[in-house]
């Protein structure tokens, strides 16, 4: 029988939640790496028991942990992330040049077909790859050294490569998103990169239609239609039908189009989910009502999903990596909050139940569907 494993990263450790296919009762394992920040944990599509975790603190820096048994045991692997060559500078908050400096790993994306290959998106923004199970890391410098790099500047959370998507159909193609530089695409395994921000409009930057400088919060793709991308930008929800070459706004009737996560239904490529947040200065749900919004038409027409979610006095946030879907039928949808709740829906968002209510602030949620 199928089962689901959720990999939950928090400010103070990792938690692994497991359930059978009914998704009614959940076992909880953790905290793993208690006291450390777990920005991201993700399993290999090629070997679901191979997990990678990004563990860090301001005291002791970055670690990468690897599990070969689905999270029962872990071993620290390589944590040496060194930019290739002289890193140069990007643009600081005050407009001055600022040296590129490694801070942490935001996102780990295992290869689609090799458990030992995994990509890491880091702050300050760059892309690294390991081909030996995380022991050694080498930069793919074409991203950081893009000609626009010196003009990239950090968002409020730092200048982070927070999203990596590997294209399942075009095997040399990958996407990354950087706050606050924008989205980029490579068609040659990460050697060279192209900004894909045409159609984005950001009122807070000198040129609202600039090639780079957009605060992209998250990108999502359905594996059956990899040319169609969905984006939650700082403000605006966007859709691209040409692998990011152009974008159209699909915020439609959302009550606010600010937010962080965006995800796609496992079986319906035009069904997408966002969690609208009041504004960039008030990171909590509008009117204290925690509502996931679902569009079944690829955007523009949205419906609020509220059953089981708090509809008063709720002032949590849902961070960019803290939403995931499983691939069971019906599709399960999950998200974690900065208030430490992990919510699950076993019916594609119609009804929600808290799995846990009192974790540390949730940084990331990934779902594995296990056979």
């Amino acid at each position: 029988m199928s089962s689901v494993r959720l990999l939950v990263g928090t400010r103070k450790g990792a938690f692994i939640l497991t359930s059978d296919g009914k998704r009614e009762r959940w076992g909880v394992s953790g905290p793993h790496f208690a006291g450390w920040e777990l920005y991201h944990i993700k399993g290999s599509p090629a070997d679901p028991n191979r997990l990678y975790a990004s563990q860090s603190t301001g005291w002791f820096g970055q670690l990468i942990q690897r599990s070969d048994d689905g999270g029962k045991t872990w071993q620290p692997v390589g944590n040496k992330f060194v930019y290739e060559g002289v890193p140069g500078t990007h643009t600081w908050y005050d407009g001055t040049p600022h040296p590129w400096k490694f801070a942490r790993v935001w996102h780990l994306e295992p290869s689609l077909n090799d458990p030992d290959t995994v990509y890491a998106g880091v702050e300050d923004a760059a892309l690294f790859r390991s081909t030996d199970g995380g022991k050694n890391w080498e930069e793919l410098p074409g991203l950081r050294t893009h000609s626009s790099g010196p003009s990239w500047h950090p968002g409020a959370g730092g200048m982070c490569s927070h999203t990596i998507i590997l294209d399942p159909k075009h095997r040399h193609r990958m996407f990354v998103a950087i706050s606050a530089a924008g989205a980029f695409r490579s068609d040659d395994d990460g050697k060279t990169w192209k900004p894909i921000n045409r159609g984005l409009k950001s009122e807070g930057i000198p040129n609202p239609n600039a090639e780079v400088g957009h605060c992209v919060h998250r990108i999502a793709m359905h594996k059956s239609r990899p040319d169609v991308l969905f984006m939650q930008k700082h403000w605006d929800v966007m859709r691209s039908k040409d692998a990011g070459d152009t974008w159209q706004e699909v915020s439609g009737n959302l009550p606010t189009d600010f937010g962080f996560p965006i995800d796609v239904h496992a079986h319906e490529p035009e069904t997408i989910y966002v969690v609208p947040i009041k504004s960039d200065s008030e990171h909590f749900p509008l009117d204290g009502k925690l509502r996931v919004y679902r569009s079944k038409s690829g955007g523009n027409e949205w419906e609020p999903l509220t059953k089981g979610l708090p509809q008063r006095d709720c002032y949590v946030n849902v961070l960019r990596a803290a939403m995931a879907v499983d691939s069971l039928d019906a599709c399960g949808v999950y998200f974690g909050t900065t208030g430490g709740q992990v919510y699950a829906s076993a019916d594609a968002g119609d009804n929600w139940t808290p799995i846990l209510r009192d974790l540390p602030p949730v940084l990331s949620v990934e779902a594995q569907t296990l056979q």
Partner: protein, 98 residues
């Protein structure tokens, strides 16, 4: 034999409890003790000092014999009491944050 006391998180990472002991040839210095620790416990590489610059992480402090060695040059000799194992070399996570 040099006695070293690690902060709690690094003891967990190194899978040790209590003090650890490392061998250092000659009179120990800050850097020779750190080199010996990282050789014995490779998982600690990059956690006490930066991989590239080898600089002490800002929120890590070094103490021995009630003296703060955090700001001393890496080649600073440690006291005889540390060399003789009478006193430990303390690696401390600074009190900061929550």
């Amino acid at each position: 034999m040099i006695r070293v006391l690690l902060p709690a998180h690094l003891k967990t990472l190194a899978r040790v409890s209590g003090e650890v002991q490392v061998e250092v040839a000659g009179q120990p210095t800050i850097v020779s003790v750190l080199d010996a620790i990282e050789a014995s416990y490779p998982m600690l590489q990059g956690t006490i000092r930066d991989h590239v610059t080898q600089e002490r992480r800002p929120f890590v402090r070094f103490f021995a014999c009630e003296q703060d060695y955090s700001l001393e040059p890496p080649s600073t000799l440690l006291p005889k009491a540390v060399e003789q194992g009478a006193e430990p070399f303390l690696i401390v996570g600074a009190m900061a944050g929550g």
